[in-house]
């Protein structure tokens, strides 16, 4: 066990986590109102329950970031590290860590393109981020 926190998937998010286990990023999509995130059984705009799951490109840009010098559970030996917000090309926003760049403020900027990879953590595959073209993994 990594000691890091694990998401506790619910029936609403089951498909999301099943797809990440295949190294793919999927979210519910409402025909009328678009992406629904976090995943749930209805569209929060029109209340429709008739929507499909669609795959996302896994590409986006850094919307914001911090470099934490105090580690969360299981991360204590990794400080300092990035926690970033990624605006996906398709619109939804995800939180993640950024790998494959020096951990310093000048190494990144808002708007920098990143792509997803998946960290296998105690049986769950978590979306994580690296610069486009990087082959880094964790």
């Amino acid at each position: 066990m990594s000691g890091k926190l694990l998401p506790n998937p619910t029936p609403e998010t089951r498909i999301y986590w099943e797809k990440t286990a295949l190294n793919e990023l999927w979210m519910p999509y409402c025909q009328t109102d678009g992406w629904v995130f976090p995943p749930r059984f209805h569209c929060p705009t029109c209340a429709s329950t008739e929507f499909e799951w669609r795959q996302l490109s896994g590409r986006g840009t850094i919307a914001s970031f911090i470099i934490t010098h105090r580690g969360g559970a299981g991360y204590q030996d990794e400080v300092p590290y990035f926690i970033i917000l990624v605006d996906l090309e398709e619109g939804p926003r995800l939180v993640g860590n950024l790998y494959g760049v020096p951990v310093e403020p000048t190494a990144v900027e808002v708007g920098m393109p990143v792509e997803v990879f998946f960290e296998l953590r105690d049986g769950i595959h978590l979306p994580q981020w690296r610069p486009v073209g990087s082959k880094v993994t964790v």
Binding site: T10, P38, S64, I66, L94
Partner: protein, 379 residues
Amino acid sequence: MTYEEIVIVGAAESELIGIVPDVSATGLAIGSALRALDDAGLKPSDVDGIAGTLHVSELALQLGVKPRYADGTNVGGCSYMLHVRHAVAALRSGMADVVVIMHGESGRSRVGSPPMAMDMATASGQFERPYGIAGTFSMFTIPTMAYLHKYGLDETALAHVSVGQSKWAAQQPRALRQKVLSVEDVMESKMISWPFRVLECCPVTDGGGSLVLTTAKRAADMDLKYKPVVVAGTGELVEGAGSSFMEDLTSFRAFRESSAEAFRTADMTVNDIDHLMIYDAYAHVPLYGLEDLGFVGRGEASEFIKSGATSPGGSLPMNTNGGGLMYTHTGMYGMFALQEGVRQIRGTSPAQVEGVQTSFVQGVGGMFGAAGAVVLRTQ
């Protein structure tokens, strides 16, 4: 329609705040409640409504009341602003005659406090918390770079917030951090979560505070230590889970809408406000707040603070207790912002501003998850 005037007749903090290792969280709440009731010459037996973020049934038992109105709303640190708003409605509709709103938190010493548990099935638990979020300092702060980037600002924009508020804190004997700070002091302080240094992050403390609300009519028959403080307007908005789910990383919808509702119900505009409190767990929050409440234009908050406008002698005294950054921050700071708003209206703050007739108190909760606003004025 004319609504009945609702007033604050009691307001007090716990006898001790800061580092209080020998009082429980509930004890801090009850201690402050008794002091606040004493402002109005009231006893627990006079109380028929209570509110708080601790278990309300435990608060009722410990204070010694059997309330017919109980409000356990908990949306984070601004919950007390929401409690004020709900109490106003309850008092106007006759659901209660005297409401006590209580806060007690042993945030630092953890005396009589339940262990902090995280629910990993929530949206935040599944999609934010797994990524090494050690505390609020590495989650509440995340949108800040989007804000600084949008307006071409650097890290010193945050430092100036702490510098400005330190000038107020120096006048507050109960403030945990009382030193007048320079930009260099702040920038050289320990890095916590870049771009945030420790002096741009709230300390974690112990403390309590309570408010007693009733109708103006009933207050007229009470033996009050201080003139009643009128709750002129209120607003609230619960936006959702937190910082990664904000609609716009550079502006907080719940600030915009709760403040607009408070101004509307008070029949006031920014031009009517003499004194301002903006909940500041971290130094970016007053920047968002000044803009979202409409006191300055987009991207102008940093320059406004840097100019001294919010510091002693400035045109818009803000966070005159030193704010959560300097005064105290138990975890759910909102009650302390309200207490300073009441003190300024009463004329009893150690950092008293001359002639304050109106105070706008804006809270945030759940790391950009919810907001509550309260407008106070003299009677």
